[in-house]
Amino acid sequence: MRDESGKIIVRRFWNRTLESLLLILAVAMGVGAAASGLSLIANIGSYSKETLASPAYREIIVSTQNNATDMTDPVILKPTQDNVVLTTKDLDAATMVPQVAHAYISNQTELRFINQAEAEREATMVRDGFGGPPPEEAATTGVPSSATAATATAGTAASAGTATAPTAATTEIEAVPTPTTSGTGTGTATASSAGTANAGAATGTRTQSARTSDRPPQERFGLSSAELEVAVADASIIIGQQENLAGYRVTPQFFDAWSMKAGSGSLFTDSDLSGTQSIVVLGSEAAMVLAGEGKDPASLVGKKILARQGYQTVVGILQSTGKAVYDGAYFTPYRSGATGFGGGPPMRSMNTQLRFSVADPKSLTETAAGLTEWFDSQYGEGRIVVSNPRAETERLMARNTGIGLLILFLSLAGLFIASVNVSNILMGRGLRMRKNVGILMALGASRAAIITLFAKEALAISAAGSLLGALLALPLSASMRNALGITGGSWWYLLVGIAAAWVPTIIFSLMPARQNSMIDPAQAMRVA
């Protein structure tokens, strides 16, 4: 620094290290707290807006009592007197409630790939005596021993709380169409239903329960190593390199409700619900992964995915939705057991949740009332639960906003107190320099020069404090967001919060500078 008057301030600053550091710390704490509070309230606002903008919060969920009370548990495990079963036919309720725009079912499921690694793993397990079918069963079905392993892949409990489904995902307890094995030429057309009642294996572990005598054997589509080699060589067959792929069993209006469009091929139609062919639509990311690096995902359309559930023909690939949970998934038609396969009788009892979405969220309450009336008339009063996830979420958001405002108020109060104290200390420093101010004016300093001199000191202190405050705000803000369950958010809010919190600090810091410049030099000289 080559400015002598600036040197006076800098050296005075270091000569009073403790006082100077306390000033910086006071600014840091005030700015840190206020910036965190401001960014928190901004994050709550944007998170609420973003969350409620999701189609998941424009729908009413209809479920049976059992399915509604504890959606995270497999329904089959809950002893119940309830014999109400909801099927795709119940989606007809939409026609009775004019506010409903789309009615659909969306249940989580999973596709297990067959590939070399999986075949080797199973061969090892069978050799070690785990998971394989009883010898006689393997013999009678003609299915390679590896085929009956991995019993607990489907029908496992679906986890709740995904990003897009505010309520628990449904556990599917129904029969699914028998996958065909056409094109393999192996004669192992024994693929059977996935996800049968092996809900006891809630985490997908292999259990012995699948072999209990009161349940049908867990038959799976499988291939011998030689057959797998043939499949790998077939260009029309897709071999997934990963273990599995998350997906959804959906009815066609699901795509409309979530504004999903086919990028290649086509989506399902109502006729696919009653068909028997195993078809899938792939999310954009899932298609890219399956296609492999550098290959066009659109080339997958028409090909078949080799999976435990049998060959799954890819009929379409979705455009990107921007939602990882859907872009990375596959979709297969939801086929109600009520109709049976190939026109046959219903295979098993099933239950599900029905979703009715509306165009305008304001009509959700009215829609819920209309649906309640309809389902009460169909199944009896109180037997069906009609829930409005948006209402519950709005209550949660309102609570978060309240907490956020309280934190903001307290943090701004902290900032105000810190700023006033900083201002007072700077004023005190200025008063102690009163004599020096008079001398500086006698030597030729104008009032503007005096303001500039003290303003530099104030700005340096508030800048250093704000920088430290920003460092404090980073973990503090993250911790506040975590405490309130706010995900996502933007660092911009924190930056804006720091800038906004800095403004009052600057104003309060500059006030003493102006005050000091108003000192009458003659009076100051008398002091001198």
């Binding site: 008057s5 001398i439 004016m441 030597l443 030729g444 104008s446 009032r447 503007a448 000289m525 001198a528």
Partner: protein, 234 residues
């Protein structure tokens, strides 16, 4: 150079109005060496502050080189103080955070003189007052006489028209006071105008002109017939 016409200064203390200066008229020419004398509270310091435009006047006119500077804006007043006046105080008033050299450089920074140029000039001035070896010392490490010599160098840094010295030897022992008086008189001999408040009558007698102030009024304005530069040089 400076003309005060019927200058008055009153302080309003609520119920009481104190007249520090009353209808004071005065002319100061270049090169003069003036001692302002009078008892405590007579208005000597007020006159010095008004001359240095550190204080405003409540009546009359203040002319500097034929310009009326009675009501100049703050920025212009600061410029005149910086360029035309040099101040020397009884208690030195050096900045303890700055070295002797930096103290002398300070007024030049307000005049917009470049760092190198002001450093060179400050060094030369300190050499002139005999402090070459002490220029990087802080004031706290210097004696009173040395500090006042730094203050003199500082007052001369922008080559002012007028040095205003308020009892410059008041805080010094007599030998050091004599030293300071000789330095000031030496600069006066080279053409620097000096107005000095002198509490000590002996010092007042050394000036070319003496102003006696009492109760805010100029009682006497007399030339020193016995003033001799040769005596000073001796």
């Amino acid at each position: 150079m400076i003309t005060l016409q019927n200058v008055g200064k009153a302080y309003d203390l609520g119920d009481v109005k104190v007249h520090a200066l009353k209808n004071l008229s005065l002319t100061i020419d270049r090169g003069e060496y003036i001692a302002v004398m009078g008892p405590s509270g007579s208005g000597k310091s007020t006159l010095m502050h008004i001359l240095g435009i550190l204080d405003s006047i409540t009546s009359g006119r203040y002319m500097l080189e034929d310009y009326d500077i009675t009501n100049l804006p703050d920025k212009e007043q600061a410029r005149i103080r910086n360029k035309h006046f040099g101040f020397i105080f009884q208690s030195f008033n050096l900045f303890s955070e700055l070295s002797a050299l930096e103290n002398v450089m300070l007024p030049m920074s307000y005049a917009g003189i470049a760092y190198k140029a002001r450093k060179e000039r400050a060094s030369a001035l300190l050499e002139e007052v005999g402090l070459t070896s002490r220029m990087h010392h802080l004031p706290t490490m210097m004696s009173g006489g040395e500090q006042q010599r730094v203050a003199i160098a500082r007052a001369l840094s922008n080559e002012p028209d007028l040095i205003l010295a308020d009892e410059p030897t008041g805080n010094l022992p007599s030998d050091k006071g004599e030293e300071i008086m000789r330095i000031l008189e030496g600069f006066n001999a080279r053409g620097v105008t000096i107005v000095m408040v002198a509490h000590n009558p002996e010092q007042g007698k050394r000036a070319k002109r003496r102003l006696y102030i009492k109760d805010g009024e100029l009682q006497r304005d007399e030339l020193n017939a016995t003033y001799s530069l040769e005596k000073i040089d001796a």
